[in-house]
Amino acid sequence: MTETSPKDFLIIDGRPYTSRLLIGTGKYRDLEETRRAVEASGAQIVTVAIRRTNIGQSRDEPNLLDYLPPDKYTLLPNTAGCYDVDTAVRTCRLARELLDGHNLIKLEVLGDEKTLYPDIPQTLRAARTLIEDGFRVMVYTNDDPIMARRFEELGCVAVMPLAAPIGSGLGIRNPYNIRTIVENAKVPILVDAGVGTASDAAIAMELGCDGVLMNTAIAKAKKPVLMASAMKKAIEAGREAYLAGRMPRRAYASASSPLDGTFFS
């Protein structure tokens, strides 16, 4: 893809990335599988969770940071599991301390456990607080174009609409909304959650998204490392297709071979 790779960077908070695939690190068999999947995916940004240490048994626990060194990857702490503003904000502050002042975070404030959809009003409040506190916020939101713009106006560095419920693998439920969000946006739009297989990721990119964040689709495939490779290629394929400009759809057929000079015509 020599035509575009030189200039086709994903830029988040002023930093350029060649990979448009962001992946989560949950749900893998072990940290070694996590490492191999991340490698196969080519991801440069990986999300991590912040959790309490298990007092008394953390002694020989393998450490995620040893497998995904912060100097090699952009670690993106996320507030998954937070259902209120206070918890989300405190989680971000602990993450910043934990990662030596690193202030790029992924904010999610969830509405309920059935859908894991965001609680929009609380997400708005948390985003405001975090931005004032100097965080660079990538925000998980629903696919409402009006809310996406609101988060952009608020100063979020990336807006991450869901394609379908987290972990559902249902693909892009409403391409219309995603496209509208992309058309209105000045910050990167990353589809977050809902991708189930490679074509879902390609579709997100063909809609004009700047990237895709996924976790379950890779971690819960029968062969996670191979699926990670599939996703890497799907993201690139979708991006290139978007840049190449697809053929127009036609209701009827159109011959690929010239009719002129048809044999025995």
């Binding site: 949950g26 959790r51 502050r93 993450a95």
Partner: protein, 65 residues
């Protein structure tokens, strides 16, 4: 001294600073600490004294989506 660590009521003996606490609990690897809702910077682990009734959170990074 009675404190709450990661939600558990705990009786602490012979730990006056955060450093002491971490040594006492034998915690390895990178962590962050919050006491009573305020971050305790790693640089102040040695000088920040623990007090009766402190609500202490000790966290680390793990795999997550």
């Amino acid at each position: 001294m009675q404190v709450v660590i990661n939600g558990e009521q705990t009786t602490l003996e012979g730990a006056t600073s955060v450093d002491d606490l971490i040594r006492l609990l034998d915690i390895q690897g990178k962590i962050a600490v919050e006491i009573n809702g305020e971050i305790v910077p790693r640089s102040r682990f040695g000088v920040h004294d623990l007090n009766e009734g402190d609500r202490i959170e000790i966290v680390r990074a793990i795999g997550g989506g």
